[in-house]
Symmetry: C2
Subunit: 434 residues, 2 copies
């Protein structure tokens, strides 16, 4: 038995705003940050579970405070008691304390904090089992996997019985798909060339470097000034050619009609999708955009700010999105991520998770590998996002080869940061902030 002896929460921030890395139309100067959780245990081999939720700077301390407010729900518990009933554990963490639930429910700071803690439990479990997360999931029976989920508020779209049937249906090809992932990796796109705060020469140079590295799919930020969006789109198209993929991402700055007008204008650059055109809460607005842009061939993508399974369920029921961009640190941890994968499979919507920030690529490689091997069984329309920042701070960072993520092999969720990185970037006392 493994006892969780202590929940340690740390405020970790990287000063990315100094180079305008990650700048977009809504988020002009983010400092990529993590409310970081370490679950200490009584095990002699220094076994610890790690998890984080991603923020962009100020307010990271508020997430840390929320984690501390929930720490007593984990401290003193046996890992094996938790993992024996993961679905019930998830319900407890997100709804078990009705006083804390009031602050969401299942959204905002309190859900972000729960996400970090729940993911830390999964990391601990996978390390205890000696498997990477994707493999821990792949090796579960359909019944085991479904027992990890909470179907509250989704049974009108997906029942446990349907989920089990879907997983059983996909079971036969699992070994072949696992071998394929090990051989080829998972296809990805890069966002690293197209940040809004980069000047045009830098965009051109980064496109060339990315092409040299084998990238086939590129994303640019839009939504600042339409003329500048056009100019940067022209540069990227000029560099990558007509055959490669260009996505656009407006980071929520437009209204519905504004989106239609602007994307009709940008359609000549043949964007594959428009991402986050408007409020992340606007399911019906996205549906309207999708309908009205249908003839232009531009898909609609959203999800990095979609806060829970109930919202994703509706985005799918309403026919509002072509691509589901779930965020592994904003949804309530891996349990809710798996639920969204199942919903997406049922509605036949490709999942292209939100990457970037700090640690999101490390998380989502597991999510998409698992999705391919055991849930959707398809790569059609699927691409993992890649952003080339901050990977050096992780013990088991993502590995990219010619535009593909390689299968992670180390036990856990790949989210454990180096001790020195944690110390240097602790806010406000770490060396980077002095």
């Amino acid at each position: 038995m493994t006892i969780i002896t202590q929940v340690e929460a740390r405020d970790i921030r990287f000063p990315t705003s100094r180079q305008l890395d990650g700048s977009d139309a809504m988020n002009e100067a983010p400092d990529y940050s993590a409310a970081y959780v370490i679950l200490h245990t009584d095990q002699s081999d220094d076994l610890t579970g790690h998890g984080l939720t991603f923020t962009i700077g100020r307010g990271n301390d508020i997430c840390v405070a929320a984690i501390n407010a929930m720490a007593s729900r984990l401290e003193g518990r046996h890992l094996e008691d938790i993992t024996a009933n993961m679905g019930q554990f998830w319900r407890e963490m997100t709804s078990g304390d009705s006083q804390l639930r009031w602050l969401g429910p299942e959204k905002g700071v309190i859900h972000l904090a729960a996400s970090a803690m729940i993911n830390a439990v999964w990391d601990l479990w996978a390390k205890r089992e000696g498997k990477p997360i994707w493999k821990l999931l792949v090796d579960m029976s359909p019944e085991q996997l479904v027992s990890c989920l909470d179907f509250r508020f989704v049974t009108d779209a997906l029942t446990p019985q349907e989920a089990i049937a879907m997983l059983k249906h996909m079971a036969p090809g699992k070994e072949a798909r696992e071998a394929e992932m090990r051989a080829n990796g998972y296809p990805a796109y890069t966002t690293s060339a197209g940040w809004l705060g980069y000047d045009e020469d830098k965009v051109r140079r980064l496109c060339r470097e990315a092409l040299d590295d084998g990238w086939e799919h590129f994303k640019q930020k839009v939504g600042g000034n339409l003329e500048e969006d056009r100019r940067r789109a022209a540069i990227i198209r000029d560099e990558i050619g007509e055959q490669r993929t260009l996505m656009m991402d407006a980071n929520q700055v437009w209204d519905v009609d504004e989106t239609i007008a602007n994307m009709r204008d940008l359609a000549e650059f043949n964007p594959h999708w428009i991402e986050e055109p408007t409020s992340p809460d606007d399911i019906l607005g996205h549906a309207e955009i999708r309908n009205r842009l249908f003839d232009s061939g531009i898909g609609v993508a959203t999800g990095e700010h979609c806060h829970n399974r109930v919202m994703f369920k509706q985005f799918m029921q309403a026919g509002a999105i072509d691509y589901c961009q779930l965020d592994a640190a904003r949804l309530g941890g891996l349990n809710e991520v798996i639920m969204v994968l199942l919903l997406a499979a049922k509605f036949d919507i490709p999942v292209c998770p939100h990457g970037g920030g700090v640690g999101l690529c490390e998380y989502t490689q597991h999510v998409s590998m698992f999705d391919y091997i055991a849930v959707s069984g398809s790569l059609e329309g699927r691409l993992l996002e890649y952003v080339d920042h901050l990977h050096d701070h992780f013990i088991d960072p993502v590995r990219i080869r010619r535009g593909h993520y390689l299968l992670p092999e180390a036990p856990g969720y790949s989210i454990t940061m180096k001790a020195a990185s944690l110390d240097d970037h602790t806010y406000p006392t770490g060396r980077e902030w002095q």
Copy 2:
């Protein structure tokens, strides 16, 4: 000119769980709490602005931390600069700091904190003008009022021009409706008899007392055990008769199909509405419930956990609700509340705000009085919620007569608590918590 010199945030909690006041199927033992804001000024007459957001206990400190994180956005500013451009101020408070916005956006802890601060500014403004909030709003021209709002993400449903036209259309009868409110008050219903944690004798006794006090409309909590729900409904119907109104409130505990089944079972008690049957995020789920319960005559009500105007816009666009129960402390302050009133008027949906907690009745009397006098011009289907807890702690508490709220007359938003109440209920150092 009035300078806001200091933002003081206080963690105020009332031990209501000791008597199970406020208990329901989701929230079994709330301690009604307020993250309470005092805006100190440089004025010699001790002018201060007060605002609060409502929570139910644990986590109230997290809201206080969020208020402190935003305090610098108000400190040192001139009230008159803010009120000259209230719409822009609202955008600044909710989206101006993109790092903090990431924690929502416009939802959860960060939006609750913004709500308290924004309402404190309105309170300060109204006190400076020597008017109660409803009157400050009623006396504005349509153009002034609309300039207080941020139409981002709602223009597909309502434009500023339409809003001005609607307000102009209602202008002629304003004086008569104001006189009517002063004479008759605003009709209300009581939730005080029907808490889930009260035993049956207490429910019966409280119904009789409420009838003696002139109440015509009653709400009970459901969603615990169906047989107990039926028994309590029978008791209430037995006491209030067939002609008076009985509402039911499930506080989010059911799924969609479960709601249909349970409400068909409870239909024999002729409930006026089912409130919060399922997840507060489930717009399409509420629409499904409303459609399938249509033949039973049971209306669908929700809104106390609806976090912003974008969600309410969709509840209305989707035909998902019969009654809009906006919460004056969960929406981003009065600006967003007014936007929802305008949307509701456009979609012809009655607004019956969420009362109870601590201070919500004090807030919402202003909201509904303003709605009647200047926005909807109608009382049809409208009832203010009343809960008889904690009013003694306010300097200008609500006044109820024969099931009606009387028009508040003191300057401000009626949300200023007595200094002794604040001190006694400060958590964890106040006298009540020792």
